[in-house]
Subunit: 368 residues, 2 copies
């Protein structure tokens, strides 16, 4: 459809595959926790906002209700979320139309092409109430035919940019991010570059989905973000990222990894504020904001085990580090990280100011 | 949807994954050759039989034309076939409706859950004209919502049974297939058991597709078969299978593999006659036979290299043998097979009577 080559996200964006002890499947309890707290909101959203007056998309009397999870990674989180969505849609449908023929659900699991779809498929729940399909490709481009989805869902994926903004790795740019691996928020030019990239990516995402989602259809987005007035470097996630960055700097000084590689490494992540998100969605114009809530993850308030934290972190960032530093150095990096994490445990978990927030957003596709 | 557990095909049914020298992707030139000779028939079938008067399946003005390949394995054959189908449908559409909005294509690649979808997705053509999705699961059950497919395609997959018929591995049954690993056609009770299983499987396949394909939609089937009045043991494929069986018997006698395992090994394959197929399709009643042709593969008439033949054979049967005999014995089996194949080369390729045929079938879903 589109020129795929310009739309390809590096394979490193994929979470760790398989179902072994280091896999995302076994190390995504933060993301699962989010679903637990978002579940009631999602239920309420579907109950109050879903509109079945939209005609059936098929010429037969049977309605196919198509759902897509954008950035599903490997189960079980995606299966859990989809099951809850299907249940909520069914309840709403049966409450509205008694004695009507059953809805048939088709669920599309989307993630980057390098995602481990083999494991995803092998672990699909056997007693699911839907027909399943996998859709490979970046969600910053089109993935589905026009007006074929009724509900889109994306959890903990949209803070992943399509690429690191070029300026931050350019030694000649005022936005050069020397000494940091993330958009900490303290360097204005860096923040500007990251924010522009996020705006651009979100706009691509909304435009693609606007084509694919039927008028009146819903989109639920859960995305990592910042509380109002808080910088990334002041949040728990930001502090962990800084710690990883400082490990890389230490290791470069010790001659274990190359300094140049450390200088050119930046995380393709951007945590946004409510204001930024609202502005992007309103300017885009294809969707109406039905709800915008802040999710406060209980895990952010508890002190967690170092090993647990490091393995969760590794399941997400291993591919990224591997692609940049090479396979051999990744073990060393995470060993060093675990050590430094333990040594700095108290400052990493020094209280409430360390929280980031996650945004829950419910959008409705405008009817053109 | 259905009880998936009763519908699960063992993982051994999957062709060899990846894209290495032993993969199906690199060892499927027989199957590709079939597409080359079937291509013109397929084109003609679509030109003459496809009916665009059927309303668009979407409420928007844009039509989504959904195609599924049942038993796609890993590319490139499936991509080649799908490209040809899309081209033919587009041509027909544009000839019928000038100045109409473009069709959008959604192509579903189906195979058993153990198929290597990761490789399939990574090798998807970048400039494809369709939205791609992978659908895991056996095609002997439902895989899609009702009336959502417009064209189904299945090439070289339907001669794979959902299971080996139980009687042929039962030492107490008159259908016990002692001394052979296939339905050679010479033992009547064995042939009866295999034929019944095939009938049952084809019927399940047709019933599932009848639900999924829109009234008036097409199904193209290419399936291995027998010329009229010819037994499996008289065909090239049958002779190869017998040779493999005799290798297993030899190796059991030499004490390399267990005799009991050899006795209980049977191929879940059935090659059918035109008459059988016609009868099954007519009795099923959901589809009308628009065309039934015999494809004569040019490769059957040329003497081929032993190494080439063995590697093609291995890409298909490795999983099956591995599951039954264990990984260690598979290398030994194929080494022995290559040796015996070379020694018996002339009798294996002893001329025209050795051919099997492939059937090309075009079905149209009846409008209820």
């Amino acid at each position: 459809m589109e020129n795929e080559e310009t739309k390809t996200v590096p394979k490193s964006w994929a979470m760790v595959g398989g179902d072994g002890p280091r896999s995302y499947a076994k190390n995504s309890s933060y993301q699962r926790g989010l679903l637990d707290i978002a579940n009631e909101l999602m239920n309420e959203s579907i109950r109050e906002t879903l509109d079945f007056k939209i005609p059936c998309s098929d010429s037969s009397n049977i309605c196919t209700f198509r759902i897509a999870d954008f950035g599903c990674s490997v189960g079980p989180n995606t299966f859990f979320a989809v099951e809850k969505i299907v249940e909520a849609v069914e309840q709403k449908y049966h409450a509205q139309f008694q004695n009507s023929p059953p809805l048939e659900f088709q669920v599309f699991f989307n993630d980057v092409t390098a995602n481990d779809f083999n494991t995803l498929f092998k672990t699909l729940p056997s007693y699911r109430k839907y027909f399943a399909a996998g859709v490979p490709g970046t969600f910053y481009g089109r993935l589905f035919p026009k007006s074929t989805l009724r509900l889109a869902y994306s959890s903990y994926s949209l803070h992943w940019l399509s690429k690191v903004p070029e300026e931050v790795a350019d030694t000649k740019s005022p936005a050069w991010n020397k000494g940091s691996i993330q958009c900490s928020g303290t360097a204005k030019e860096v923040a500007k570059a990251y924010s522009a990239q996020f705006k651009n990516d979100m706009d691509s995402f909304l435009n693609a989905r606007a084509q694919e989602i039927i008028g009146g259809g819903l989109m639920v987005i859960i995305v990592a973000g910042l509380p109002d007035g808080i910088l990334m470097s002041q949040t728990g996630a930001g502090i962990c990222n800084e710690l990883l960055g400082s490990c890389l700097v230490d290791m470069a000084k010790l001659g274990v990894i190359s300094e140049e590689k450390v200088d050119s490494f930046n995380l393709p992540l951007y945590y946004s504020s409510v204001k930024e998100l609202e502005e992007i969605i309103k300017n885009n114009g294809h969707f109406c904001i039905e709800r915008m809530n802040t999710l406060n993850h209980p895990m952010m308030k508890t002190k967690i085990d170092v090993r647990f934290a490091v393995s969760q972190f590794r399941a997400v960032f291993q591919g990224l580090l591997e692609e940049h530093f090479g396979r051999d150095d990744v073990d060393k990096i995470f060993e060093y990280f675990a050590k430094k994490f333990a040594e700095n445990y108290d400052s990493v978990f020094r209280g409430e100011t360390h929280q980031h927030v996650d945004h829950f957003i419910l959008l409705k596709r405008n009817i053109d």
